[in-house]
Subunit: 249 residues, 2 copies
DNA sequence: CGATTACTTGAAACATATCAAGATTCGTGG
DNA sequence: CCACGAATCTTGATATGTTTCAAGTAATCG
């Protein structure tokens, strides 16, 4: 399913990266870059790639060549262990850079699949590293992004290791809302791109437990939820349950 | 308590970093560097710092200036959430680089405390970034280390999210053994530097559960454990329980 | 339209936590 | 050096939260 209207409205230049005009600049790699440096960054970013829901951006064991900046849409990244048990490492939205875990072994270790109609900028990593040598600000921003990823993972480890189901889900929801708000999107009404099973998998819970907690929150007047449409009625109440404020993802 | 013999045998130059002669080169930052580049790296590494057990290397909210390469000893890094609940992010040994999570906000977010008599090399991060511009191999190795950290955290997330107590502890022990083996140390007999409570905290279990699992493994003939001395009698048996092979930490 | 998938809810089973007591080790000061 | 108290660890009994199993409903898809 392509979207003809959007396609028609795009000329060739807009198919290039165009970090310059990208509303995500403040979230993404080129934060704080000067005009001339932005141009250089844009030049190494090959093209924009469209990914349909259910389609994989990369899979474990794929050769690693590119990082991906999410321009639009929603992804989950997950890993399979030796027993074929799946675990979701993260849900990723607009402005986030994914594929960072593949640098160390030169192949991807996790799988990235789109949960919504998505679009990514493909960033060739070796060229990016070359650019770092000329643009210290870009290098530093990249390190901040990697470091942030580590911090986010630590927050998730804390969640998985110390919280009960109720706290986990409340944290998940407030965090999702904050990330939407940071992108100027509605933070009290949202569409959940992922299934109950995905949420549970991510939080270390079974889907039934997630469903029960949703019902409980609804009974308590904190949210309204029907299927994947979520309305947060009492953010402070949710936060009180989550009580531990979490990082960026 | 200092160790006079060691102190006496050290001259001033050996108090400098001496990556050159460091047995950890293959694990640490300077992997694959040429002699001349090694010298440049050594020059920015200020000094070696000795840390006594129980002493903090850094604390959350401390200004971030340095990464620390562990030359000798054993550390745990932990985070406190808003409720004062502690969660251990990792146990770190010789050759590992810690403090990476602080880059993004320019202050430390977790606390690092020595569990044994330890020694670290202090690496000024901004100077290191400058060096990256001249030494591409160093830059790339740093990115690999950060990426590896992310991969390790993902493995831990999988452990916390999907495993039962028995699997968690078996994974913890085999992983510890592997890391010791990678350093040329005995992997079947070891001293556990951390308490049962620390192990439990790290694995998302209570100390009583850890203790029970230790007893169970001992009854099953997999290990011998008395207090903090551990002997692994049947590594394959442990691995079979762990069954999911984990990353570097 | 029927079939499949996603979700909800209940009852029972299970793993781990909690509470509690006792044993051992460790540190410290008398 | 011994004694005391604190910390660490083990083990048992009970409590609790989450999972598992099961059934049913609603939405989605071909």
């Amino acid at each position: 399913m392509s979207t003809p209207a959007t396609l028609a409205s795009m000329n060739l230049t807009s198919l290039k990266a165009a970090c310059n005009s990208c509303i995500l600049r403040q979230l993404c790699l080129p934060l704080g870059l000067e005009e001339s440096d932005l141009d250089r960054l844009e030049k190494i970013i090959n093209r924009r790639q469209r990914i349909k829901p259910g389609q994989h951006l990369y899979r474990a064991r794929d050769d690693f060549h590119h990082l991906y900046a999410i321009r639009r849409g929603f992804f989950k990244t997950y890993e399979l262990n030796n027993d074929g048990i799946e675990h979701i490492n993260g849900f990723h939205m607009t402005g986030e850079l994914i594929g960072l875990d593949a640098i160390s072994d030169e192949f991807h270790v996790c799988n990235a699949v789109a949960l919504e109609d998505s679009e990514v900028c493909e960033v060739p990593f070796l060229k990016l590293e070359e650019l770092f040598r000329d643009i210290p600000a870009l290098q530093h921003q990249f390190h901040r992004i990697m470091s942030r990823e580590i911090g986010v993972d630590h927050s998730l480890m804390m969640l998985l290791g110390t919280m009960r189901a109720e706290e986990k889900l409340a944290t998940f929801l407030t965090n999702l809302a904050e990330r939407l708000a940071a992108r100027g999107l509605s933070s009290d009404s949202m569409h959940l791109s992922m299934s109950r099973e995905d949420i549970g998998n991510y939080l270390g819970l079974k889907l039934e437990t997630v469903s029960r907690m949703f019902s409980k929150f609804q009974d308590d007047g904190l949210i309204e939820v029907e299927r994947r449409n979520l309305h947060i009625k009492d953010m402070d109440g949710l936060r009180k349950i989550a009580h531990c404020q979490h990082g960026g993802r």
